[in-house]
Point group: C2
Chain length 291, copies 2
């Protein structure tokens, strides 16, 4: 593998993810200069003062003018405006990647807003995070050993893919390429559906007449199980919107799973219930052993 080195990396949104990329690549000596663009003056000033970025750009145009690569690491709602800005740039060879947790919606947006640039766009999703947010939470080790999924478009150039792949490898990540459909199906099942289920369970407890008793005695799995229901509702509504098709299929499929268990409870078929629990426990414990 060629060592990753570029003269200028621009990061739009220097939060947990953007800041951690900056911290790692600077530590690796993999960039000449990191330029940051951000809406929160306090956050971007923190990033600058703590050496995550070398320069603060006054706007997107100035920020990307001389960049080889731009990482868009902002909440999904802000992405379209940023693509429209990028469209106007004279830097037509700029390679662009993002870090959003849904990829089908990003692909469509790219094809609609900047079809002339698709050769340089490499949609990405680092499977790493933390409950912390902002540049203050930046951590050069955040991606070490973690998966990053890239979902290149049909017309994305190999040179663009290669550049983004090497960026992530320099961050210590393992890169996998797949279609955006496959990505969105996988993450609907392993992440989006579990979040919806956790929210729905806690909300149901919260709606009951005996809700005070329930929370007083909430132990036996509740702390672990409900942790993800403490996540940002705005972000998860955005994910529901962005990946609605796959999520809807999984919600329906899960309703059928629960209906099956309901029938087994009604008919007192405890052997069949045990088979379900056994399959889950074996799968979960095998998975845990590999981590």
């Amino acid at each position: 593998m060629d060592r990753f080195y570029i003269e200028q990396l621009t990061i739009i949104g220097v939060g947990l993810i953007g800041g951690s990329i900056a911290a790692r690549l600077k530590r690796e000596g993999a960039v000449g200069k990191v330029v940051g663009v951000g809406r929160s003056k306090k956050n971007i000033t923190f990033a600058h003062q703590h050496g995550l970025i070398d320069e603060v750009a006054i706007d997107i145009q100035q920020g990307i003018e001389r960049a080889s690569l731009v990482v868009v690491a902002v909440p999904v709602k802000q992405v379209e405006t940023i693509l429209q800005e990028i469209k106007l740039s004279s830097n037509t060879e700029l390679v662009l990647t993002d870090v959003g947790s849904t990829k089908g919606d990003f692909k469509k947006m790219v094809e609609r807003v900047i079809p002339e640039r698709v050769g340089f766009v490499v949609p990405g999703h680092p499977i790493a995070g933390s409950e912390k947010i902002g540049a203050q939470a930046a951590d050069a080790e955040l991606f070490e050993g973690k998966n990053v999924v890239l979902c290149p478009l049909e017309k994305t150039k190999n040179t663009s893919i290669d550049l983004v792949q090497r960026l992530w490898q320099s961050c210590g990540a393992c890169v996998t390429k797949m279609s955006e459909q496959k990505h969105d199906k996988i993450f609907s099942a392993v992440s989006h559906l579990p979040h919806i289920v956790s929210y729905a369970l806690v909300e149901m407890m919260n709606r009951r007449e005996d809700t005070a008793d329930l929370f007083d005695f909430a132990a036996g799995g509740f702390p672990d199980f409900s942790r993800i229901a403490g996540s940002s509702p705005e972000m998860w509504v955005d994910i529901c919107r962005a990946n609605r098709g796959a999520i809807l299929e999984d919600v329906e499929s899960f309703i059928r799973s629960l209906e099956n268990i309901r029938e087994l409870l009604i008919s007192e078929d405890y052997e069949a219930i045990q088979n379900i629990f056994d399959a889950a426990a074996i799968a979960r414990n095998n998975w845990a052993l590999k981590q």
Copy 2:
């Protein structure tokens, strides 16, 4: 509160729970002698050699002959046989408590098998545990600050309730009394339903064609969410059997919650989805602050 002290405590089943009670009461100097009864010779020998118990009884009759209090801390399937043994004992003033996670079934069993002893029976449920099992996992601190629910029968004598309450307080626990119906409703919602949901989610992932991909990319909440799906299937099938009525209601109610979310996704009513997520996040985070 009178200090708890009894001449002889007998523990049937010196595992995590039984062993931890023994460890704590001996440390507190709250018992003259702890006698242990157990089916696994290896486990009971370990408990004896490590001073958790002072004597190993050869059988239940010998074990409870001179005891003031007996704690039945065995898997639910073994409880009935033990009650039948206790029925035969000449020690008619023996106070009896258990540690099972469902209480309605235990109450019914007591009323059926030992109706003549109900005045001395105090059904209990310590809300504490660990993934570890056996006497080796015994921990004198296991119940410190934890809740213990007691569900006395109508005819249980106050002196019996008082004795068991003081036993648990000596173990550092906070004791709450409630009916067995209320107990089983609460724990169906906060513990039994979440376990079923976690098993069902993991089993659904395991059944899919793309299961290998799903487990490869299982992050973003999966580790926390699925931890309880690694629990003992046998134990959880027993709980389904023991608390079938309340669990069935909660499974049905949760299916309706998910059907509601499905409808909101179909109609793209993201505001209503956000309201559900908001209510859950606020409730969960408020709960977490109090822990």
